[in-house]
């Protein structure tokens, strides 16, 4: 939260307290403002929060531990498909959400360890390309495991996932307030996702200044030196992969329940790249960066979609660039230009946990 608050332009430096309240107010009021422009915008915000969660998880792997993972979306897929298996008519299983989500997270964590073990010795480019291969293998299996035994239902995907039900409260139903006014379910999902994201942020910030977080930073900056001072890099790498994967799995489970539908198409390489771009664009190794990057890069294509299409219609009479092309263009340019012009990202990470006063505040150093 401190990191996030100090990232607020102008106000962050002068009055962190006010900046913190500003963030809270904006986060709570965002869907109320968004709905003025139409209900789709609340939906966009819901998805943006899922991307924030993904970016936070990937940031753990790439930014904190320095392991470049290009197959991150595989964990998202594992989470989403686990949720689909456990709570949909596909197998006829309908477990409660409080069981589905932990199992989804657990399966994703297991997948993270499965990926982590064989690639422990790899770093940098090689790691990147092997993880990319892992993501593709998962996608190929999801796409083809409908024959001879139908497990994933192939390219059609799995339909009609159970919605989120918390303590008997179905989030997919609108809550009627008066005769012709009701709280839309998109709002309910928004606030639930917001709570999940807030929890993740608290967890990750505590993790960052913990022994593990500092050991990750040491490993990222110089693996050999980290080994030399007795850091167990093998376990730390596995932990990074599995913790990052857990976030992916949770986000995937939420995504499945929210959308009610999963198919291999949602887990393409493009999505892995998109999440990586969010982390890189915002600033690697930095919670605030991951959040800002995810919010900007998931909302901007939607805004462009609504602005660019009418503008193109007016200028050329036809639509030259459709929204998906615009999204790809935006992401690829964001990657290239950010690396060339501002390699540390929008909000560069400070290694602040190395300052004693910061550690003191977290009760780590005396």
């Amino acid at each position: 939260m401190n990191e996030l608050a100090s990232a607020v332009p102008w106000l962050g430096r002068r009055n962190p307290q006010a900046a913190r309240w500003l963030i809270v107010i904006v986060a709570l009021a965002a869907p109320l403002v968004a709905v003025l422009f139409g209900r789709t915008w609340v939906r966009v915000l819901d998805f943006a929060l899922l991307y924030v969660m993904l970016a936070l998880g990937l940031n753990l792997v790439v930014g904190f531990a320095g392991l470049l993972d290009l197959g991150y979306i595989a964990f998202y897929a594992v989470g989403a498909y686990t949720a689909a298996f456990l709570a949909s008519p596909h197998f006829g299983v309908h477990l409660p959400f409080w069981i589905v989500l932990p199992v989804a997270a657990g399966c994703a964590a297991l997948a993270g360890i499965m990926l982590g073990f064989p690639v422990l010795r790899l770093r940098g480019d090689y790691l990147a390309i092997v993880t990319l291969g892992f993501g593709e293998i998962v996608r190929i299996f999801l796409n083809n495991l409908n024959y001879p035994v139908n497990i994933t239902n192939g390219p059609q995907g799995i339909n009609a996932l159970d919605p989120l039900v918390l303590f008997g409260w179905d989030l997919s139903r609108n809550i009627p307030v008066t005769e012709n006014l009701s709280i839309n379910s998109l709002f309910l999902y928004y606030y639930f996702f917001l709570a999940c994201v807030a929890g993740s942020i608290v967890f990750i910030q505590r993790l960052q200044v913990s022994r593990v977080g500092r050991a990750w930073a040491a490993m990222r900056d110089d693996e050999l030196a980290a080994k030399a001072i007795g850091i167990n890099t093998r376990n730390l790498k596995l932990l990074a992969f599995s913790l990052g994967a857990t976030f992916g799995g949770v986000a995937g489970g939420l995504f499945g329940a929210f959308q009610g539908f999963v198919s291999p198409e949602s887990f393409s390489l493009m999505e892995s790249i998109a999440v990586l771009t969010m982390v890189v664009f915002g600033g690697m190794g930095n919670v605030a960066g991951a959040i800002v990057g995810a919010l900007i890069l998931s909302a901007l294509p939607e805004i462009l979609r609504h602005l660019a299409l009418p503008v193109q219609q007016a200028l050329f009479g036809t639509v030259l660039l459709d929204p998906e092309v615009l999204r790809m263009l935006l992401l690829s340019l964001a990657m290239i230009l950010m690396m060339l012009l501002k390699p540390a990202g929008l909000i560069p990470a400070h290694a602040r946990y190395s300052h004693v006063e910061h550690l003191k505040r977290h009760g780590v150093a005396r």
Partner: protein
């Protein structure tokens, strides 16, 4: 037995194309230590530009002989790719040469998607039929194996190109400069090698190979598509790693081996897994091989480099 021989032929054909692409990867990796993710997409650009040229020629001069048409379309596609390769190096990679290694890698991924997006804008998302200028009708079967003229052309063509490249790298002054730059930029520069020029030339030569490979790949399958380059690009990288990255002979060997493994894998996977997996799993072989090679023999079949270059 006939199936075996047929898969052997198919594997050789695809393997030759992988080998050509792998050469571009391995040269750039050898000289800069950069995985140029966008290299695979140069393959696609080559095929697309050639396709566009052929369509134009068919409209402009309907009676033209297929051979002339093929030559002309290559004569357009190759320079376009070379220019693109040069531009990428000059605008993006050169500035990042001394940056942390993550930066050029991420730029390269961005470049790859940028090329795909531009191709999508120019040529749309549909699959295009690639004209079959060299016949795909099978020749007289030998021992029950069908071989088509296009397959012969691909294998012979890529063998000639690879031979020419080896001569270039081992016998000419340019090749010596390239090897010196790959060994050590700074020392090469001190010895009077214009390393910037040599690196740019490496990109340009790799791009030319990619263009040729693109035309071969598209004529072999008869289709072209904006995303057709990414997968072969990754497989070619796998081939380069398999052979030993930075090693030209290794890239060729790796390409052929990968082509054969894929072809046999696709042919026999159904028997091996008792019908559980089928040929739609073809793409996983490359990634499995990549993983296995990096874990058990990171130097590749012929290479000497270590895997810990991060």
């Amino acid at each position: 037995m006939e199936i075996f021989l047929q898969q052997l032929v198919n594997g050789l054909v695809v393997g030759s194309v992988y080998a050509l692409v792998a050469l571009g990867y391995t040269m750039v990796y050898g000289i800069l230590g950069l995985i140029n993710f966008a290299h695979g997409d140069l393959v696609m650009v080559g095929a697309m530009v050639a396709l566009q040229t052929m369509l134009f020629l068919m409209g402009a001069a309907p009676g033209m002989s297929p051979l002339t048409m093929l030559t002309l379309s290559l004569a357009v596609a190759i320079p376009v790719c070379m220019l693109l390769g040069y531009t990428m190096e000059r605008l993006a990679y050169r500035r990042l040469r001394n940056a942390p290694r993550l930066a050029p890698l991420i730029t390269a991924i961005g470049m790859s998607f940028l090329l795909q997006t531009i191709a999508m804008i120019l040529w749309g998302r549909n699959y295009h039929t690639f004209p079959q200028l060299v016949s795909t009708a099978p020749l007289q079967p030998v021992a029950g194996v069908f071989v088509t003229p296009i397959q012969v052309t691909i294998v012979v063509g890529s063998a000639l190109i690879m031979a020419a490249l080896i001569v270039l790298v081992t016998k000419t002054k340019l090749g010596r400069a390239m090897r010196a730059t790959a060994e050590n930029h700074r020392v090469a520069a001190l010895m009077g090698v214009d390393t910037n020029l040599i690196i740019a030339l490496t990109f340009v030569i790799g791009a030319a190979l990619a263009a040729v490979a693109g035309v071969m790949y598209a004529s072999n399958y008869g289709i072209a598509h904006y995303g057709m380059g990414f997968m072969p690009g990754l497989k070619a990288f796998t081939a380069a790693v398999l052979g030993g990255i930075g090693n030209l002979g290794g890239a060729m060997l790796g390409g052929i081996v990968l082509g054969l493994v894929e072809s046999f894998g696709a042919g026999y996977i159904e028997h091996l897994t008792f019908g559980f997996l089928n040929s739609s799993y073809q793409d996983i072989f490359a990634f499995i091989i990549l993983g296995l090679v990096l874990i058990f023999r990171p130097t590749g079949l012929l290479g000497e480099r270590v895997s810990d270059r991060a």
